[in-house]
Symmetry: C2
Subunit: 200 residues, 2 copies
């Protein structure tokens, strides 16, 4: 049913958001119109500005308002260590854990030949150039522990073979506070293989 | 953690949407930036236009781009019958059932003294004026079957008492296709009270 052209277009447009179907889009539109007009106006502005202004950092490929992002430009961070992640959310999770003070390289995906995503698309060449020309001493491959993430990590490791750089992978194992009974077999296998002497 | 001013502001603004918390807002922002920029631009425009242009119909209070909405202006509809609903979503549900061809009055809420919502806020005076001056012969009270919805219906019925108009309420009962075992007691009681001879 057609409501009014402006409302219909708003509902239709809201469906570009992930996980938002017709019913949810309607509820969102009505909510904004009824009780959230100032929020709606603010969101309109933020969307316009971000879609227009957010680019990719020339150094790490992460989203940035400027040519080089805040992390890459931060002199307090050790850009001799690069943590390679698949997505900005992964970077965010690591930043929120608060411990890591090196640099990043954000692939914005993983290798997926079936979807036409090759090394070019995720910036492997740019990563290698950075490693070679900017004195990177360690590359931490922090892609996801999925088939695609592992394949991407292996591909990058192969491409870095012979370069003077330490390649590491995040440790797999039992999550801190996790109960053994709830941990999947794949993780348990990794935890056993990675076991360490108690004295360490 | 701060990402970049534009991305942060986008994430923050997305939280004005109902049911969208920090994590979901982040996922939405990244999705738009990574793969949905054209959708984001379209949504920015639709939001701006709707927040600015959508008003309330002067006759039925529903959202409308124009002074009077499409339903109120449709000469094919019988505006001698008015269906009173709490919200545009309720109107939409009735329209989608496809059978009703009368007019509407959208309260945009229900009486809720504790929230400061009185008869003024839901437009009861406007409804009565319309009934009295525009030859309305039937008012169908289709507020929700909740305590507040019932109270609102009763209040409107009282206010229309003595006016030359038939006041009706949607029938309560077993949903079509519903199983008795899954119907709540309140509905069952209504269904029993509203039972009809089989010959009807
Ligand atoms: Zn950067
Ligand atoms: Zn109207």
């Amino acid at each position: 049913m057609a409501f009014s052209p402006l409302v219909d277009e708003l509902v239709e447009s809201l469906r570009c958001l992930p996980g938002v179907g017709q019913k949810t889009a309607q509820r969102m539109a009505f909510h904004l119109l009824e009780r959230g007009r100032s929020g709606g106006v603010r969101l309109a502005g933020a969307l316009g500005n971000a879609m227009d202004g957010v680019r990719r950092c020339e150094s790490c490929q992460n989203f940035s308002d400027t040519e080089t992002c805040g992390i890459c430009e931060n002199p307090g961070r050790n850009n001799g260590t690069l943590c390679v992640v698949e997505s900005p959310s992964d970077l965010l999770a690591i930043e929120q854990s608060g411990d890591y003070r090196g640099g990043y390289f954000v692939l914005m995906g993983h290798l997926s030949p079936i979807d036409g995503v090759g090394p070019e698309e995720i910036g492997v060449e740019r990563l290698i150039n950075r490693v070679v020309h900017q004195g990177v001493s360690e590359v931490i491959l922090a892609t996801n522990p999925t088939v695609e993430g592992e394949a991407t990590a292996h591909y990058i490791a192969d491409r870095l073979d012979g370069k003077d750089v330490l390649i590491t992978r995040l440790a797999h194992g039992i999550p801190v506070g996790g109960e053994l009974g709830y941990v999947d077999g794949f993780t348990l296998t990794h935890a056993f293989r990675g076991r360490k002497p108690l004295s360490e």
